[in-house]
Assembly symmetry: C2
Amino acid sequence: MATVSSRPLVRDDPLRLVDRFAASAAVDEDAFMSTAEFSAWFTARQRSHAFSVRRIPFAELAGWSFVGDGGELRHQSGKFFTVEGLRVHDPAGPVTEWHQPIMNQPEIGVLGLLVKEFDGVLHFLMQAKMEPGNVNLVQLSPTVQATRSNYSRVHKGAGVKYIEYFTAPGRGPVLVDSAQSEHGTWFLGKRNRNMVVETAADVPLDDDYCWLTLGQIARLLRIDNLVNMDIRTVLSCVPLTTDTRGVHTMGEVLSWLTEARATHQLTTAPVPLAGLPDWRQDAERIFRPDERFFSVIAVEASADNREVKSWTQPIFHPHGQGVAAFLHRRIEGVPHVLAHARREAGLRENVEIGPTVQATPDNYRTPCEEMRPDFLDDVLHADPSRILFDAVLSEEGGRLFHAQSRYMIIEADDGIPIDAPPGYLWLSPYQFDALLRHPCYVNVQARTLVACLKSLR
Amino acid sequence: MATVSSRPLVRDDPLRLVDRFAASAAVDEDAFMSTAEFSAWFTARQRSHAFSVRRIPFAELAGWSFVGDGGELRHQSGKFFTVEGLRVHDPAGPVTEWHQPIMNQPEIGVLGLLVKEFDGVLHFLMQAKMEPGNVNLVQLSPTVQATRSNYSRVHKGAGVKYIEYFTAPGRGPVLVDSAQSEHGTWFLGKRNRNMVVETAADVPLDDDYCWLTLGQIARLLRIDNLVNMDIRTVLSCVPLTTDTRGVHTMGEVLSWLTEARATHQLTTAPVPLAGLPDWRQDAERIFRPDERFFSVIAVEASADNREVKSWTQPIFHPHGQGVAAFLHRRIEGVPHVLAHARREAGLRENVEIGPTVQATPDNYRTPCEEMRPDFLDDVLHADPSRILFDAVLSEEGGRLFHAQSRYMIIEADDGIPIDAPPGYLWLSPYQFDALLRHPCYVNVQARTLVACLKSLR
């Protein structure tokens, strides 16, 4: 390595990137590919491949089996993920102790969006991709969406397309790069690296990929089950705000979260999956007799354009449609949303910032009505004139089967005070931009809502 | 709760606090308590109490026992901490697998410095405190240094003095508040809340406490085994720099760390403490027959001014004195130190930013010479003219017995390039200020060195 004795200094400027992203967000009808062309292209992509998914008994899983003393469900390679048993102790919660299956996937994968300037405007390379858990099989995905097992080819399939733009030495400028958590109710400590990498290279365009502006993606976000979770989480990390004002300082926001993490801690311990209290296992499912929450099932999938043409895998099947919503209000003209410091068993730091409301209403039927979360009814019964955003969007289809949530942003009525109740705080878009440079502050449902918030005009 | 429909906005300004702290750092000889008066006061405090510590066999521990299937060492209350067995798998490390005892203390404690203006200058409330593991028993400690078990009075002792300034509703402005990790080689995911809270109240001054400026503390930091680890870690979080320049942008720094975390992951699994491979247990110690690394022992301590007058506890006894050092150079006039992305088994995110060198030289005797860390010899054999800081300081004496490290900052020679080798990066003081607003970026040894770096004139 050559010895360098000096080098020009750079000045830290976290707002530096905002202008370029904002310019892309302002373009929602593009010469490169119009919205009409996109629709035709996407429909063609859906039709051009043979995809199928069917549920199978656990015994038909290939390479997966219930092993060891605790009967965990593992792949023979030791890679991908395992389904394990977890005991959760949450002294301050409405339920103080429970057991559940959970997915353990310690590898940090890559969710990567490649960007390139065309006519001076940043465009994002999007992919039409099949996932076995998607209700409609094909959704719009990031350029790259790969676990380390995927791109290091544990499954001996073809290489992950475009991965070299994210991982090879000499790649282009990295505009966004932070590790973010995924669902703390289904994953134990899972996180993925959310990346936006710029290229000036002449990028060969595969049939299943297209270039879109941020403004175009913002429009597509309003269509049910089109823009997948992995795009939404990466987009939530794209800074778009130069207005650094808020009703609280960042110091206050960080201290609020530190306090929430220190005050009510939940603890977890691995337990055997076999014989997990309150859960049953039969040939096709691990489930609760009361059919609440979720079940673990198995599927066989085939897709002629995936790295591996057909495969079997376990997958989590949430029961009932979720609701995730932000209450929203302008304070002195600056938009704010009501954030909630939310404990989840699988989060590495126990507490992250969640939506105002994050719940599956079916779980609060009798006898659990008294546990109904704060603000749930404000959201479900909001006057239509107050609804700023409303779409049913899918959670990640590689690990979650038919997992859909209704994402809403609701203009708060005047009864909801700026002095938020304990556990809640009004945050501005800039504060989310600042938090999302760092790992594990904002949970995955809130990140989808942040992406939706950024899409509002 | 009153409904508030509006409120003045604040603008985020992370540099806002720097001037007030810098003014305190500029005062190193103070009218309130001179340096000579401090020495007399501290000596008097050491002499005014009866302290004693003696090693005992495990069988004499009161309230502690080896329990359960795995023989973990626990307190009967279930609080404080447990000593457990851990298996570590580090495929990219010089040693790819090992077993060790580790302390599991999931609670987030408080390390708190109370500050108050006298004559317009911020003063910090310091405590002369006995800890059983300190080589000299009494060191200078933060205002408050308490686990949650301590201040919620699990041990049924007296209340923790001054804790109400940190935890009570209506406390003063919180100037610093972030959860930071502790030694990843001895603690499993431990972190403490590092707080600086300001008060305008008339604070009653207990005999064991005194007010000092940042400049005075900086001077005391150069005295061996005086300023304890808990003060050092809180001071590392006190922002002192307005110069936001650096050889890298914050985006590059964060991406470098994200990549280090994603690339080489180590995994850990709890295993029984009883029969831990490579370790032996007798009546007084859990240790390795080769006497490397550390042992687990037990002590009986008494101190007539502690919340509990006498107690017994297990404690970790590191073998050999550690070395932690930053290589330092000015680049275009701006100070930089060479940071290392360091994997440690007990860190929640596996990798944090560590010193250029962090090692216990005794561990690299035959047959381990070939594992000698990079830069260790540059540090140990540095020309005295290049040594900017050099003091032997203690690690936390509540859990660690006679744990001392030599902390050094060494002016790098020209052979060490600005294009740092893989895993290393040159960071500026501002970048540490920015990182230390957030949890678990900078490990505890590097935080001591950051405090030392800030003390340099």
